[in-house]
Symmetry: C2
Subunit: 764 residues, 2 copies
């Protein structure tokens, strides 16, 4: 199996300069000053080089795009970090303060909801405006040339505009925030699962994502804006809830209580939901999405906050879009429904046809994923330097534009201008007519989906549809995974709506006078659902999203069934596309269930051993040695007392902060303790050991770790089975688990990767 994964969407290459610290011959001699590598990353460590200033525009090297290994991903700490300081703070807290924190949680969700809706409005309107502008320029050029046989001119103009726009997206993505590539859904999924994907919730990623998706959609790539909107919502949530931006080095004295992985995760969940709500106008779908796809930590209070967040996001989107559409305040205006309002219903005997379409959707979805898989592997092998990545994007853009242009002239279908089409897409058609194919290419992709759904039976001839869908399928396969922000929902829906409409036309041909076969919209919808379900393999949230986005509930039963069938058929061949990309990038994501038939694997086989431990009261020299040991770069260490008994667990980050603030017993009074605020302050970017300077004298001092360690971490017996360990990890979002023997002595430590390795073995 190829060891290179699909990194583009999941990796930020500028963080890849992992330089292992030089080997230290004699560990007991190692002192902190020996370590001067600026961007050291640990195998399960804590560092990001966000502070190192090498974020942008470093030269292209093979090194910079080297694929990530599983070991490069860090885990997040979804377990509460308890210690004496925390107990003291919580005990001091009055009921009023506690209420205040609750209210802040709601307030943050309100902010996330409203801003996410606003961002979606900005993206929407920008795309509409840019697309209209582009169309105006190109159609004018065509009009001028259609009689004077200079058709290469409009083609060139079109290609130039598209390539220009797409290049902006590519440059931003490649050089500012590579993690902004792709839809963002796999990244958010990883984040919520407990894996830290570097930079995934940073402001520069947000900026890249928003500008990039506007550029790439307007630039005519076969991408949608929905996935990136979800990612944007998640970043906003993380940013707002933390009250700080690392990119701008700004920290507000707000929401400090929430500066830990656990709280951040909850808000990111809400942000993702708000993103879905804004992208599809589907607030319930948003809540479900964030539960189905992302969260394994269900909690009713949290769900209500997510729900509020989704609702507000919908309201804010609908309100501003209704203003834009000159229906100010009419929040139920049907023009706000993403895929147009569906009327009509279906007959019971059409169900088998729908089910058959589900099978087709599953097959085509699996084919899409398989082709994309091959392309991704090829891309990871050969398109490795940054310049090439940008070039690839431009090539795809040029090819897309050329194909589209050729299709417009190949497909000679002209329809009379109706009231729906008031724009000038005449091309080679007679006066008073428009080119059908052009209506698919010169409008924002949502409008194309709407056309395929709702335009009357004769609007698209079968040949037009076939000419459209075949190349589009392959271009879309090629496009997903490029170094630009790119959503997958709209391409899948377009493909599905196209072949769905084809089937609808067939049905009408079979029974031209039947009432039920007059309505092609339902076939287009079912096709779109089947294709989407076969590609991404979600069910419940997709059902609700489609119901909300079409404003029609009566198709819920067939939609559900079709999505389920498409998933089953697709799963027979390969994974869903998001899972595939996560898998290719070797992210140590934990599945929902323990690996099957793993009951005979026990803790002692799973754990990393021997575990490096530290003493409750410890020589500074020893701590430095442990922290600098290149072979044991865990993110935390079990703490033992003099007799070697297990006393608790301390995080690497905590030790670093203790060292930096020189909390040495010899230098301070017995009651001198660091405040919890100091620890919160350095979250989430902990400094490397190298910036800690400890003198020779200080090396002989002692640190009393007791106030800072977690006195009662979760432990497991060495006899425990893997499923038992798995359940503990999964249910509580743990990062590490101490394995103890019958004498309560530490015998090893299990990390997320240890578990992942075993689950992973079973798979190809």
């Amino acid at each position: 199996m190829d060891t290179r994964g699909d990194l583009s969407p999941l990796l930020s290459n500028d963080e890849d300069d992992e330089v292992m610290i030089s080997s230290i011959g004699n560990h007991s001699e190692a002192s902190c000053r020996f370590l001067s590598t600026p961007n050291r990353r640990t195998s399960d460590g804590l560092f990001e080089n966000g502070d190192s200033g090498i974020e942008a525009l470093v030269s292209d090297t093979d090194e910079s795009v080297r694929p990530k290994k599983t070991a490069d991903y860090e885990a997040l700490d979804y377990d509460t970090i308890e210690n004496e300081l925390y107990y003291a703070e919580e005990t001091k807290m009055s009921h009023r303060q506690w209420k205040c924190i609750q209210i802040q949680r709601w307030l943050i969700c309100v902010l996330i909801g409203i801003t996410t809706g606003l961002v979606a409005v900005i993206i929407n309107i920008s795309i509409i405006q840019l697309t209209e502008l582009k169309m105006k320029i190109v159609t004018q050029a065509i009009e001028k040339c259609v009689k004077s046989a200079c058709l290469y001119q409009p083609l060139l103009i079109w290609i130039t505009i598209n390539a220009g726009l797409v290049m902006i997206a590519a440059l931003l993505t490649v050089f500012v925030a590579p993690v902004a590539a792709g839809s963002g859904i796999p990244q958010i999924k990883c984040f919520l699962n407990g894996v830290k994907v570097p930079n995934v919730v940073r402001l520069k990623t947000f900026f890249t994502k928003v500008v990039g998706i506007i550029a790439s959609v307007s630039g005519g790539l076969a991408v949608g804006k929905e996935g990136p909107m979800i990612h944007a919502g998640a970043v906003l949530a993380a940013g707002i809830s933390q009250g700080r931006s690392i990119t701008f080095k700004l920290t507000f004295p707000l929401f400090e209580y929430f500066r830990n992985d656990r709280e951040k995760r909850d808000f990111v969940c809400a942000g993702a939901a708000a993103g879905v709500a804004a992208a599809f106008g589907a607030p319930v779908g948003g809540v479900l999405f964030s539960l189905e796809e992302a969260s394994s930590f269900w909690n009713q209070a949290l769900t209500w906050r997510i729900f509020l967040c989704s609702i507000l996001s919908s309201y804010s989107l609908n309100f501003f879009m209704s203003l834009y559409h000159h229906h100010g305040g009419d929040l139920a205006y049907p023009g706000l429904i993403n895929f147009g309002k569906f009327e009509g219903t279906y007959e019971g005997f059409e169900l088998p046809i729908f089910f058959f379409m589900g099978v087709i959707g599953g097959l085509l979805g699996a084919l899409f994923n398989a082709i994309n898989h091959k392309i991704t592997i090829f891309r990871n092998k050969y398109v490795t330097i940054r310049f090439l990545k940008v070039v690839e994007v431009i090539i795809v853009s040029v090819v897309s534009a050329t194909i589209a242009f050729m299709m417009m002239f190949l497909s000679a279908q002209c329809n009379p201008l109706g009231q729906d089409i008031n724009v000038d897409l005449q091309f080679l058609c007679e006066d008073g007519q428009y080119n059908t194919m052009a209506s698919l290419f010169f409008t924002p992709p949502e409008d194309s989906v709407k056309s395929l759904f709702h335009d009357p039976l004769g609007s698209f001839q079968p040949l037009t549809i076939i000419i459209f869908v075949l190349p589009y399928f392959f271009v879309a396969c090629w496009t997903y995974g490029l170094q630009v922000p790119s959503g997958l929902f709209i391409p899948a829906l377009l493909i599905g709506a196209a072949w769905g409409r084809l089937i609808g036309i067939c049905m009408n041909a079979i029974c031209p006078d039947c009432l039920w076969s007059q309505d092609v919209a339902k076939y287009a919808l079912i096709g779109a659902a089947a294709q989407l379900g076969g590609t991404v393999r979600m069910t419940i949230s997709l059902t609700v999203i489609l119901i909300e986005a079409t404003g029609n509930i009566s198709y819920s039963l067939p939609l559900m069934t079709v999505l389920m069938i498409a998933k089953w058929v697709g799963d027979f061949f390969n994974q869903g596309i998001y899972d595939k990309h996560v898998h290719l990038a070797k992210v140590p994501i934990l599945e929902w269930e323990p690996p099957p038939l793993s009951i005979n694997i026990h803790a002692r086989e799973v754990m990393g051993t021997p575990a490096v431990t530290v003493r409750e009261v410890c020589l500074v020299k020893d701590i430095c040695r442990v922290l600098s040991d290149p072979h044991n770069c865990h993110s935390g260490y079990p703490v033992t007392n003099e007799e070697g008994k297990f006393r608790g667990f301390v995080l690497r980050s905590q030790l670093l902060i203790l060292l930096k603030h020189k909390v040495f017993m010899e230098r301070s009074g017995p009651d001198d303790r660091l405040e919890l605020a100091v620890f919160r302050d350095s979250y989430p970017r902990y400094f490397p050991l190298s910036i800690v300077n400890v003198s020779e004298d200080e090396q002989r001092c002692h640190i009393d770790i007791r106030p800072y360690l977690n006195p009662a971490p979760y432990t497991i017996s060495e006899r425990a089975s893997l499923p038992r360990i798995f359940r503990l990890f999964r249910a509580l979002g743990l990062r590490h688990l101490v394995v103890v023997n019958d004498n309560f002595e530490v015998v090893g430590i299990v990390t997320r990767k240890d578990i992942w390795k075993w689950g992973h073995h079973g798979k190809s």
Copy 2:
């Protein structure tokens, strides 16, 4: 605070004959034969007296209806019971067998879905037929009497029919399955939370629930059939998945693998979802309901099965109901939509009106809950013997009927017969007219809700509505908690639709010519949602249920917001009605979050101590002593080795089975082990210690517990904080947690009730 709770819906009184075993002076002398009390129940124990044959028709005593104490509830074991036998079985399992078990899981869900739909069809049709029959008899009598001034005759006939029907329901409930009283939702909630409510998923409960709800709805009580349908679905799920019925003493050699609490819970989840899907025609709502209200153990694979189950339930309901309505096969026939199809939309400026209605809903919901609370406390104090319970039901029935009859004649509103009303409800009206009030009382309650939603503006005069809603509100308050199966959704919707329609009429009066004020249906719908939200305090699942039950998506935003507002306003005053009843019954249910400000409570304060332990290899006499100790009736015991080191955990039920099968070291070969099948076979009704006969000789034998104990149960340090313990319990569905000290010695044991006690202290 009153110590008697609302037991009616949550308790099965025939299980209350808890006779504590006679005090045994010298514990070391105690032998198994000393214990002959047949229905002994442990404080956290395992026994039900289902086998004792005293289920029905025992004489009324105060004892039999004595309220349950928290100590009487047992916990369920949602943690996998691991031991050497289990490891051996799982290790032997081939990938093919594993697949086979997966397929069985799906198959069971298919069966659950289809049968739940069928049961819903039976309930629906029975209610429709009985109601029609009743109406025919009564209207004929009225017709005869209206001119000859013998109106007392039809009233008497009506009262007799109603009281007769309701008495059937009451007798069944009181004497066969008291747990079938009420809606069943609180009971299912408790079950899924991990508390064993006796008899809640038994066949006799199912039978009582189905017959009882048909009788009580047709008998004209202010109840709905939706809650009981959900309960029925859950019982079906438990029955099918276990392949056995205890009531009929039938065991099929099917699905044996699933005979444990963990698997049963998953299927009950699916059954509840199928119930919602069938009750409201809301499959997505069903999935959400079972997640929001019930399950804290989210798992994607499980969710898909629940989803399938819901879909099939909907299909089977729609299919058979479409046949019944002579629209065979037309699954999209709008007559299948529970509350009728909603057309129309709303204007942005109506939102504040809706929000205001949300506030009213919250207030009225809180009032409803408060009154019901008082009535319940009164009822628990004074209506304690069985005979009285039946009498109360009959009184309520007579009062309901009398009030309804009076209202029909008081409200003189007559409407001309339209195409909707083709039945004869003339009463005192002119020929060709019908009595509006009668149309609310002589139709199944769903149809009354539909009338209030959809009948044109003038159908109900404001006075008619006021005369209807005021008494109905109080009768509904009185009715919920009676000893009959009774759903709460329909009464709440009826009340809400009534006052919602009133507001709609007001709006129309304010602006008679406005387009937006012509549609009273939307106000009735929002009112219904607000009232329901204010009473039961669910949000997400209710939103989706209402959307699916009205077939209209465009109200989703206002519905959501109104439900949220109603919940907030209601929560300001008291708990939701289900939570209230759970709370009153002192069920040790665990909330979603640890109790606030509990960080300074530690394991050593929470745990029960000293923990009774048993040895790995143990004298039979000692085991008997431990099992019969009345002061330490836990459901499991930590196991220690010779040196007192903690070695694992063994369940009380396992020890009992070992005793019963006389697995004594002296009597059997070294490899003689009980099969796992033996343990599964006795699930879930373990026998009491009294039926185990151990001779004096055998008392001196040894039992080797090692193959049967769980070698690696979850443990926690005595220093752990309550939130930390809570999270472990909640996330993993634990029943007991061993507390160890730094030497890994057992110092105590934490059970669900220990945790519940602390959370409970904070509340009134």
